[in-house]
Amino acid sequence: MSYQTIRKPNQGVDWMLIILYITLMLIGWMAVFAATYDDTQPSIFDLDKSYGRQFLWILGSLLLGGAILLTDSKFYTTFAYGLYVLVLLMLAAVFVIGTAKHGDKNWIAIGSFQLQPSEFAKFATNLALAKFLSGLTINMKDLKTRFIALGLFGLPALLVLLQGDAGSTLVFLAFFLVLFRFGLPGSYLLLGVYVIALSVLSLVFDKLYIVTALILISVLLIYLGRRSRTQVFIVVAAFLFSIGYVFTTGYVFDKVLEKHQQDRVKVLLGQKVDVKDADYNVRQSKIAIGSGGLWGKGFLKGTLTKYNFVPEQSTDFIFCTIGEEYGFWGSTLLLLLYLTLMLRILFIANRQRSRFSTVYAYGVAAIIFFHVLINVGMTIGLMPVIGIPLPFISYGGSSLWSFTILLFILIKLDGDRLAILR
């Protein structure tokens, strides 16, 4: 390591990120206010309503961000694995003491405060991955290195999946993009696609058919590659993995997913049409956004919002409120804000001198990107109905705080980029 002088906490801070961050949070607060507005309780600070509570979450986030700026960035490089293990333990603890909320068994209740470990798993995994990829002897051409890298985010993803939080699981696939950037062969991206395809197929078809198909394909592949020991090994491993995955998915789907979640998936797959939830939500969401027109209906004037026509309005479907009340210009502006944020993060990634910071920054961009992709895509009918929050905008403390931590660690690492060479 190298020299270090005493530095002010705000030294080298990327103010553009901070301004984007605060702007998004304020937009979110207004949107939550509009989405859950109750004219019998019109104060935006009313703690009985989600908008009042969101204000508290925002205050908490600012404190949290400030606290992170006060820390030493060495802390994150040193304890990356420690934090990762801690989060894994918390994820495991959920199975023991988790309290079911909204059907997802992924909350830990401490007193009246509820923590969602799967939210915090994202930054911890990102740290661990950054640490691993910044190792001096790392060579992505090495098969073992690839598997460890995949395992680093595969493990928390699996734990989250077992808790029935399909949305957060998908977000972990964002790390494929990070690994790709740092040398994972492009063919591995197919693995991610394969996993998604497999989960969908195993829900649509009987397990027997899938297993039969897998056996046939594997036998064919082994026959074709019988001369190469490695290929046979890979095919057998992939086969076992697939079988295991198919049964886990089925199990998770039947035993862990609540009925309304099962319904959502089934609607997407066209298996079941007589449910109100998913199909109905998307239709209402599209009407709400579409009815916003060019200029929108104006603050608090969104009628569809007011009639609760779009459920989960303040969390997963918050983008509807913006689309309805601010129209095309408003929703486009929001998307451009996100674009600016992500490009800025990637710009920051490329200016780092430490590989740790670069990898971490890529991770942050990829995670935010996946959230925006899935969430906005869902509300405008381009993606399946998967409940994950819109970063910095959706109502909820766990999500807001975890994004704050994710972002501020980056800001801190970036602020120290000139001071330390790792």
């Binding site: 109750d38 004219d39 019998t40 910044s134 993009l177 790709f180 950037r181 740092f182 040398g183 049409v273 007589d274 109100k276 109905y280 209402q284 599209k286 009407i287 709400a288 956004i289 579409g290 009815s291 916003g292 027109g293 060019l294 009628t303 569809l304 007011k306 009639y307 026509f309 689309g323 129209g327 095309f328 929703s331 486009t332 998307l335 451009l336 996100y338 674009l339 992500m342 490009l343 990637l346 490329n350 590989r355 890529y362 961009a365 990829a366 990107f369 925006v372 992709l373 906005v376 895509g377 405008i380 381009l382």
Partner: protein, 606 residues
């Protein structure tokens, strides 16, 4: 560190830009190019309409409809949908005064601009039909149909109950079923069978245009849930008998309870003064309720279930049964009555005097001396170490006849009546301060003792059955089911030998044959019964009569209480016997017509 994959540096950047561009293009089509969504949102508002199920109907034992449904409309408003309101025109159309409209409308606006509020309620079908044609002129206002109760026979108000708007407590206790403005059964059958009668609410999603006219169901009703109508129920009431009894009780305060002994089915239950149950439905409900509530004669009070009277002599059969079972007396126990019962300084008068040869004759002449003696022998009997133990035994045995406890009838707010125990007397007199003499008035059904008219009739049913009774009930079964409801077939065996019941029955038969209630004789039907007079410190005594008939195959057991009417034989016995005759023979025999006439015309209420 060298970057081996410099070429991949900008891939993520391009992917992100690509996705955001795709999204913006998609939004462009969704929000600007495609006008369908704006049209859908603007002109077709999706409204969630609660479908209220038809409440179950109730029939009497002969299949006559006694609780019916009628359609009624409520007018609602969603303030932010109201445009260019012509207040005068609206008031004229609906028939509201300008001030009351403004008051309710302002309240609605204050409550919420987006949520519907009630503007006018209880409009009849005809009235709504005339309004509906022009309602489109008033956007934001719409009607919602609701059914209200109708009571074709206009009687049995206390048994049937009524429906009223739910209060906050009921909403909280309703497990999420009730919303503010919903209706719930209150009192009577409507309350105790609320769950069966109310059915299950449904939901309909309808598209309405800017004029609030329904444009059809959303997605062909795919998201709708149908309302499940409430169950129709069959009551045990004989509505003709009920109406007849109400006529007989007119102008009097009191109760009539008639039970079919073999089943425990309530044939009629009258609380007088009564009221027209239709008063508590429809538009003027609240006003009428207030009038009834403030009436000094308390027409809303359910006397047969709640009012506890000292049973007087009507209680002597119960005492005889317990005395016989315990062994304090036997059939041949005699007592020479000198016209009063003397013990120490105490004297309990008796209307009769002479030698009483057995318990049946004692009942026949309602000899006070005999039963004071019986009561003291009972509580002072050898097996009991103290008189307290004796009293507690007495109370326990009375409970097996349904006295001092709730009978368990399927109507809300049943009273216990009242029977004292040793604890009660210990508290008043101290553990050593009382003996059987102190409490001898319990021997003649006066003092610290109270029975509800329902309990009185129920004891008669137990005697008529030679020692068992079924939990009294007013609902037999669900209309299209073959089996009776299980709560209606709860049998209570009285732990008293049936031979003792026969002795008491002999006495009760003698009462009507040649005792204190010859007025209750019905040509061609043998009646057994017992008169009683409940002492009333506030005015003239209450007249009581309990009976069953016909004696060899009892089909009806009855208790009649007429307040402030003197001896049991004056009003209670005639009314009871007329009820019995009406129920068994359907007509009143010629020689008893004068009695019917007299009962129907006499008024005891000043």
């Amino acid at each position: 560190m060298t970057d081996l994959y410099q070429s991949r540096r900008n891939v993520l950047q391009y992917v992100i830009i690509g996705v955001i561009v795709i999204f913006i293009v998609r939004l462009f089509f969704l929000q600007i190019v495609n006008k369908d969504y704006q049209q859908l949102a603007k002109s077709n508002v999706l409204r969630e309409v609660t479908v209220f199920p038809a409440r179950g109907l109730v029939f009497d034992r002969n299949g006559k409809l006694i609780i019916d449904n009628q359609k009624e409309y409520d007018l609602w408003v969603v303030p932010n949908q109201v445009k260019d309101l012509d207040t005068a025109g609206f008031c004229e159309l609906v028939g509201m005064s300008d001030t009351s409209f403004r008051r309710t409308f302002d309240k609605a606006v204050k409550y919420s601009r987006f949520k519907p509020s009630l503007i006018a309620k209880g409009l009849s079908v005809d009235k709504y039909a005339s309004i509906q044609e022009e309602l489109y002129l008033f956007p934001g206002f719409y009607g919602q149909v609701r059914t209200v109760r109708a009571y074709p026979f206009k009687s049995a108000a206390h048994v049937l109950g009524y429906i009223s708007e739910v209060n906050q407590k009921q909403i909280e206790r309703g497990g999420g079923y009730y919303k503010s403005g919903d209706y719930i059964g209150t009192g009577g059958i409507e309350q105790s069978y609320e769950k069966e009668l109310r059915g299950i609410k449904g939901t309909r999603f309808v598209l309405v245009d800017v004029h609030n006219r329904e444009q059809g169901s959303f997605n062909d009703g795919r998201f709708d849930t149908a309302a499940v109508p409430g169950s129709n129920m069959v009551s045990s009431l004989d509505i003709e008998l009920q109406g007849y009894g109400e006529k007989l009780m007119k102008g009097k305060i009191g109760s009539v309870v008639a039970i079919e002994p073999k089943t425990g089915e309530i044939l009629s239950m009258i609380s007088s003064p009564t009221y027209d149950p239709d008063l508590l439905t429809g538009q003027d409900r609240a006003k009428n309720f207030k009038v009834l509530l403030n009436d000094s004669l308390k027409p809303l009070f359910v006397r047969p279930l709640k009012a506890a009277y000292p049973p007087g002599s009507t209680y002597k059969p119960s005492l005889a049964l317990v005395g016989l079972q315990e062994g304090a007396i036997d059939y041949n126990t005699t007592y020479p009555c000198p016209g009063a019962y003397y013990v120490g300084p105490l004297r309990v008068g008796c209307h009769h005097s002479g030698f009483v040869p057995n318990v049946a004759v004692a009942i026949q002449f309602s000899c006070n001396s005999y039963f004071c003696n019986t009561f003291r022998r009972l509580v002072d009997d050898k097996p009991f170490k103290t008189v307290g133990e004796g009293v507690d035994y007495w109370k326990k045995m009375m409970a097996t006849l349904g006295l001092g406890v709730k009978t368990g009838i399927d109507l809300p707010n049943e009273g216990y009546g009242y029977l004292p125990d040793s604890k009660y007397y210990n508290k008043i007199y101290g553990p050593k301060g009382w003996n059987s003499v102190t409490i001898v008035s319990l021997g003649i059904g006066q003092g610290e003792i109270g029975e509800t008219p329902l309990q009185m009739a129920n004891v008669m049913a137990a005697i008529a059955n030679n020692g068992y009774w079924y939990t009294p009930h007013v609902i037999r079964k669900v209309a299209d089911s073959d089996s009776l409801l299980k709560q209606t077939i709860v049998k209570h065996e009285v732990p008293i030998d049936s031979s003792y019941f026969r002795m008491v029955r002999e006495g009760l038969e003698r009462v009507v044959e040649a005792g204190t209630a010859t007025v209750a004789q019905i040509p061609g039907t043998k009646v057994a019964g017992k008169t009683g007079t409940a002492q009333n410190p506030h005015g003239e005594d209450h007249s009581i009569f309990v009976a069953y008939a016909p004696v060899d195959d009892p089909k009806i057991a009855i208790a009649v209480v007429v307040e402030n009417s003197g001896f049991g034989s004056r009003f209670a016995a005639p009314i009871a016997s007329l009820m019995i005759e009406k129920y068994l023979n359907d007509t009143i025999s010629a020689p008893r017509k004068y009695l019917e006439e007299r009962m129907m015309t006499s008024t005891l209420i000043q």
